[in-house]
Symmetry: D3
Amino acid sequence: MMLRSVLAIGAHPDDIELGCGGTLAAHRAAGDAVTMLVVTGGQNGPGSTAGRRAEAEAAARNLDCLLRWGHLVDCAVTADAGTIAVIEKAIRDTEADVIYVHAPDDSHQDHRAVTAATLSAARHNRRVLHYRSPSTTRFEPTVYVDISAHLDRKIDALSCHRSQVENSAMVDPEVVAASARHFGAQARVRYAEAFTPARFVWDLAPVPQMPLLTGIPAYPARVPA
Amino acid sequence: MMLRSVLAIGAHPDDIELGCGGTLAAHRAAGDAVTMLVVTGGQNGPGSTAGRRAEAEAAARNLDCLLRWGHLVDCAVTADAGTIAVIEKAIRDTEADVIYVHAPDDSHQDHRAVTAATLSAARHNRRVLHYRSPSTTRFEPTVYVDISAHLDRKIDALSCHRSQVENSAMVDPEVVAASARHFGAQARVRYAEAFTPARFVWDLAPVPQMPLLTGIPAYPARVPA
Amino acid sequence: MMLRSVLAIGAHPDDIELGCGGTLAAHRAAGDAVTMLVVTGGQNGPGSTAGRRAEAEAAARNLDCLLRWGHLVDCAVTADAGTIAVIEKAIRDTEADVIYVHAPDDSHQDHRAVTAATLSAARHNRRVLHYRSPSTTRFEPTVYVDISAHLDRKIDALSCHRSQVENSAMVDPEVVAASARHFGAQARVRYAEAFTPARFVWDLAPVPQMPLLTGIPAYPARVPA
Amino acid sequence: MMLRSVLAIGAHPDDIELGCGGTLAAHRAAGDAVTMLVVTGGQNGPGSTAGRRAEAEAAARNLDCLLRWGHLVDCAVTADAGTIAVIEKAIRDTEADVIYVHAPDDSHQDHRAVTAATLSAARHNRRVLHYRSPSTTRFEPTVYVDISAHLDRKIDALSCHRSQVENSAMVDPEVVAASARHFGAQARVRYAEAFTPARFVWDLAPVPQMPLLTGIPAYPARVPA
Amino acid sequence: MMLRSVLAIGAHPDDIELGCGGTLAAHRAAGDAVTMLVVTGGQNGPGSTAGRRAEAEAAARNLDCLLRWGHLVDCAVTADAGTIAVIEKAIRDTEADVIYVHAPDDSHQDHRAVTAATLSAARHNRRVLHYRSPSTTRFEPTVYVDISAHLDRKIDALSCHRSQVENSAMVDPEVVAASARHFGAQARVRYAEAFTPARFVWDLAPVPQMPLLTGIPAYPARVPA
Amino acid sequence: MMLRSVLAIGAHPDDIELGCGGTLAAHRAAGDAVTMLVVTGGQNGPGSTAGRRAEAEAAARNLDCLLRWGHLVDCAVTADAGTIAVIEKAIRDTEADVIYVHAPDDSHQDHRAVTAATLSAARHNRRVLHYRSPSTTRFEPTVYVDISAHLDRKIDALSCHRSQVENSAMVDPEVVAASARHFGAQARVRYAEAFTPARFVWDLAPVPQMPLLTGIPAYPARVPA
């Protein structure tokens, strides 16, 4: 049984849900394994660190994805060998064959650093897709995933980040839905998430799907030590 | 009293409303004169030519803008000397100092032709802004107009084009509102229309506004011979 | 049984083989239906029209794809309503859900015209990928298909176009292999064809593959009236 | 009385004058408040620190703008939280609604760092425009300000930086005038400064101008503690 | 004795002088053969056709270059097989190894058409450089030629086109000098012309120069039948 | 006797050979002086530091170029004042008038840092060309050097880096040859190396070549203290 192993990487709790939460839900629905790597604890945003950790765990549970923490510090990420090593280890551990990460042009220094470190760590990977964040500055997507069946799930997962939804001007579920419709129209579907590929090898016969697949037990959000 | 003279150019009835209807309403609210130049009669879309003409007149009335027809034929526009002359005349007649037109990268041949002809006709103008159409293929906007107070008006004007709203997959008021919210978030306002400038001279002290200005009579949609 | 329906479009006989012949072979291997639409008869290149027609049929047979002719004239293609109609009909007839066509920046006027007409005809399609030609002028690919198992087949199909391989400086199997290795290294596979997406909706669970699939009879190259 | 509040940010003394000195003069002429934030003392260029400070004060006086220092060190600026905080404070203190800063592609590391930090600090602002420096490497302007009435003032202000004009190959008033004419021709005016917008919301009815406005006293260059 | 053969192509009389007149003078000074191909007679600009022909001849004489006419009609050039054939013949006749032509993004339809036709005609050439025109809309040059010793000659040649200098807002020697200084500063020389390469093979050991070279007789402007 | 002085800069041993080894051989064949500046010792790749040093010396000897070390540490290069100073000194010492360096968009942090530092250090130079590395992420070359006569030499020099050729997926002579053929076809020659210019002033009459030139003694690889 061959499944895709998906690794989504974000600088802060809620970044991944904002950027590609619907796509991760679609991957799970297709039977793929999905791990979310949150590089920092989001120490600088609104909300306590413990609270944000709990929110991220709830969101991952909601999306039925594994959760993994990078243990770096919010607003102090650099694309150095240490950050690259954290991401390389996640790629190795998950044997990722699809990687999602922030878009390169972004006004948040942590986002830029995580993206640069990911491009380095993923230098041998065949599929690296950039998602959009509210702070992304340039973004001309050409690749889309249809999330019409998963938008609700995305909003639900995002809503788990209550400290952000309530206090950050950047996190607004109404905008998330509007952007999904906007990109959906571009993609000729109803709701879509949009991506710019760093490198995307389209696998024409990707995954011999087992009929039993939908029966595998959902795995719980887990925080590696 | 100096007012801005605005000229919005579109290939077909409904193109202008879709692309910059809210901005035109904002110009009218600021006291500017606005003319819409519809280059063809939209002969090839759904709806009769007479019907589409009436729809366009209703929409222009709704936006309180002058309407002007280019009398070219739908799906057969080329950026030749004839088309350029039609647009040059509109620029001269209106003494336009702001021009709106389709974005250059568009899958519809008429849109591309109208844009090319406009760039030629407007070669001496200081302000040419490209708006987005559902068929636009590449578009990275950097200039926005806040249409939060005018989105309803835009949707109303668009709804006048009943033949399109009901029959064309490309004309969907729900998507129009979603895109306005999407671009609004990018612009840090609520609802926005987005533009790419061909050339935009920002006039720091543009229009000595008369206090009486809001009292000028609305002018009716008019079809020049 | 759901299969993908693939439509590859090229201006002249041999364009499709050069640009995406390996990918078409990979689609056939994955059980997809593939149609090649050759828009002109290649009247202006070296070789007789009848000869080129026979070469194209041999190449399509080699790739096990359907062949369809557009009946336009070499070096005189324009992106007008007539050309668009030819392509729209092919899209409708094949119910294409993946479309391949030339890249937009190309020094050959026919290539540019076919691409523009395709973008118009495919305005409702979710997957349009641009392939590279020897005359392509700008091309920064981000999407790839692994053709390591199909490069020989590509070269074989191309070699059917003997009149071109022997007489055109632009058609050189050695360069074709070199480019496939170059793009393969970029894609982190051995041999690849490279694409720029106009619009690509990645279908995470595309095709419930039947185990019998490899047993379907190869269909012969056919020239519709 | 609503006036625009303008904040111009540069890495070193003379950067702002070179990039947008004419535009700042035009803002002052339109009655807007203007603050210049010089992030470093220019310790590494020719001239003593005290001398450069005096030159900057003279230039600001010449342009009738407030001057504010960032107190970072020349050639050692990074886009970290500290630099961002300095700029955030200036934005807050001035309630800036227009921000000018270096273009992102620049061979000077300080320029790149100041731009990155500004994009982060100004993440909620509606108007951020990038100006060109002699070390800018890529720059395709689309937004211009007509400085025909202010070029002399720009050159005067620049000339206050005698240590640079006399000793740096990068600071040459003759080139400044030539570039203003070059960009003026692009903008269809006589002399212009050119900008690339990070984000520019065009305010169609920006500033209810009071007739008394030209009577407000010019405010002196001031160095905050 | 091997000399470079240079072919400069422009849509109208004066286009070549505006775009690369200084560079042609530099080529002549280096001993290269230079032919100017003017594709149309400039029938639509100010000035009679005969007058413009005489002006072009005077300018070519001034630059000591051969002059060749394309005999197409102003404002009606298309990039079709006929235009391509005119340019192919010029390339063949001159055995050109360097070709100069308009930049592709230009608001004048003739300029775009001449550029497209040239890229097609020059498909086997190793050196095709695009020059800038006043109507060029996008242009980010990376290649320059130092014309510090030839700016006067460029202005002289341009001044031969009296009908344009006196009557066209687009032809202004003052702007020509300003742009040369602007691009010179970018290139780290005094005056430069700027180019974007379509394709440029840098010949490290290009031309075994004979010492007698400066003694070859200047050849007169000639109009082929 | 005027010769060009060429400076090629790379982050690690083997980077220069991969990116522009054939071009350096062509420069030597044209009689130019060539220095290779290797910024780090390649401490993090496969192979001992002493071994890599010896490999680099052998490769430089093979290409008949001078070798110079930057003494920075692999995977820890930043574009700070120290790195800039190392490169400025190399430029000054060699009086470089042509500089080669990595392309700016690259997934390796050292490559990006070396490029940024070089653009700063070379701010007064007229010719800076970017070469491609296996980790380069975006690259649209427009400038080429014909290395048909030097490909073997390039492969030989690269093969001196045995520790890399044998152990790094990124260093594969077969790919090097394929890319040279791919870029050669783009350049209309047999084998080429490809470049994107940061700034390239084309010297039309560059180097009065002395007939004796081929007789100058090859200079040995030398490691400055």
